[in-house]
Symmetry: none
Subunit: 204 residues, 4 copies
Amino acid sequence: MSLTATVRTPTRKQVLTDLRRQEILAAAVKVFGKKGFAATCVGDVADAAKIAKGTVYLYFDSKEEIYAAAVQMAVAQLRERAAERIRTVSGVRERLALSIAVRLEFWQDKQSLYRLLLTVGREAQHKRQTHEVLRAGHAYFLSILKEGEAAGELEARDFEMIAWAILDMIRGCNERRLDHLTERTPQEDAAAITAFALQQLGLA
Amino acid sequence: MSLTATVRTPTRKQVLTDLRRQEILAAAVKVFGKKGFAATCVGDVADAAKIAKGTVYLYFDSKEEIYAAAVQMAVAQLRERAAERIRTVSGVRERLALSIAVRLEFWQDKQSLYRLLLTVGREAQHKRQTHEVLRAGHAYFLSILKEGEAAGELEARDFEMIAWAILDMIRGCNERRLDHLTERTPQEDAAAITAFALQQLGLA
Amino acid sequence: MSLTATVRTPTRKQVLTDLRRQEILAAAVKVFGKKGFAATCVGDVADAAKIAKGTVYLYFDSKEEIYAAAVQMAVAQLRERAAERIRTVSGVRERLALSIAVRLEFWQDKQSLYRLLLTVGREAQHKRQTHEVLRAGHAYFLSILKEGEAAGELEARDFEMIAWAILDMIRGCNERRLDHLTERTPQEDAAAITAFALQQLGLA
Amino acid sequence: MSLTATVRTPTRKQVLTDLRRQEILAAAVKVFGKKGFAATCVGDVADAAKIAKGTVYLYFDSKEEIYAAAVQMAVAQLRERAAERIRTVSGVRERLALSIAVRLEFWQDKQSLYRLLLTVGREAQHKRQTHEVLRAGHAYFLSILKEGEAAGELEARDFEMIAWAILDMIRGCNERRLDHLTERTPQEDAAAITAFALQQLGLA
DNA sequence: TATGAATGAGTTTTCATTCAT
DNA sequence: AATGAATGAAAACTCATTCAT
């Protein structure tokens, strides 16, 4: 009960609590992604996290809250990773190619996370969050194109539409791979989408 | 009890039954689209259709069957609409333009139906049905392109990928309109997507 | 609206009503006997009677009432048929042999009726009726034995018990035949049971 | 957390689980016996066991399984009881007398269990299980008789039929006592049935 | 009188959440 | 803090009964 102890204890507790929360969220992402929100029961999450059902409720108030936190975590990871590789290159061609490639390769080993975003992001109560992610992606590609125009690398076109088209194709390829509807690699898809975009931009 | 009456009776019953089914399906589309498949209970569908819960089961064997029928109805309607307009034109350019336009205009007044396909189609147990719809759409555009090649209107390209890209862009535009993320009209979107496609095909 | 018409009409109606009731009961015996009371739904009875579900309720107030009437009918038939053949013979041996044989042969073509009595008669609310039938059977065999004693054909024994034993064996044989647990004919069973009884009575 | 505790823990859990199962089964026997299988709902069983409806499903997968377990329990108890007393005697007379007595005395304080077997066993879906019980009983008496023949204590007869007759009489006596149609004691009934059997076997 | 579509209370079963240990 | 047995509200589905035609 010394001063130091009093100060440290909550911190240590906080760290442990956060760790447990992360473990539970990782498990939640896995099972929600596999079976969807409604078809997943709290017991499934607990099992996947190798803890008891009751323990889940020590860290989250409800199933809803678990889900919301899982989505939030997924989105945060996505943004962080995506931003990280892009700054290393310059020029429209390279930045486009890399941005597309990142968005296709990133999910390779995160299928359940992607599945979670797809299934859960569709549910009414999470629309807003999903829209934010989409808008951010669009803004990002738009900025590449506009900077290209500013740098004289591109002529003015309907960049808005092209940016959406790029996102749509990325999403389509990702979903098809997730659902085993394609045998192409992320790299092959990235190349095709990039070529597609360049042709629209008159850079082919 | 005239001969005609006797002959018509089963028809009349059939008509009434079909009407009820349509009513229930319309209600189902509405509530499934709003709350998702899992979060909607049969009572909700019944309430929306203003009938008793048990009555639903006179027309459908299970909640699953209602969903399947709703999707089937939507797909059938779309196909019919598409087929009826497509007969009026010939040539790759026109067929492509029209097919894309139909797929964008069709959903204008069927937003809850489209929402149903989006949300519910994502759930694990309905993957297969969703995939069928996607594959059918892909096959359809692919056939237009291949016939164009056979007719000498197009040179050989990666038609597979182009067909998927068209579908991806259509889907993206539709979803953005559904979510009020765009202010473009279906016609404007159709024109843009068609232009994209033609450029990829070297017909721009 | 003449006097005759007024008098006749209810009679004619009554006859028709009774006929319909009989038809429905015959159908009820069949399906109740096959599936039991609880597992049979009114629709099954209606189907078996080839009428509409609603029509059943024009002749009976409830499913319970159908069942009660069916049991009553079954019991009445049983008594009538059993009594009919017995008076033709005299002497303990013959009366016993014939009484046993009748009770085994009677059910040969009335399996669903017997099944009905077995399954339904077991249910709590129909205990009393079932007991009446059993007691009547016991009283009947007891009277044969007592008359035999009075006539000097038999020495005094525990006739009560022997009468019950005869009934028990008859019932056992009937049930085994009903359930296909035996390949013996009713006649073979009757002979065996009669031999048993005679041995107990010292007449073997 | 001693070694013993660690070793015992699963055992303790198992014991508690078994206890609960027994409690539920006891309640089930009571209500099934009173109202029959179909007319009893799981809530009734839960109420009788003074637990919540959902709790029942922690110990049994379905209403069907409860019934099956109850019957199995009854049969196992009967067998155990019979086997334990039968080892004390030898010779056809004694084994027969004892086997019959056990089957009559056993049910004295288990009326609702017996009622369960009677009422529920009659329902179509449980026929098979009931038949198994009957066949086992028959096989048991048959084996006593055949061993008696092998040991030279009995001459060959229609043992099949005699074994059935014994079972039929036991059943009749049991049912009459259940329904208050008799005032005899199980012991008196046992003596009478045994005497009956011995006379048929020429051992009287 | 006959029909069978409609009803809604009742049944089995699941599962998020609580709480005694 | 951790557990998992217990709870009971809610869901899918059934079916006896009613009633408009």
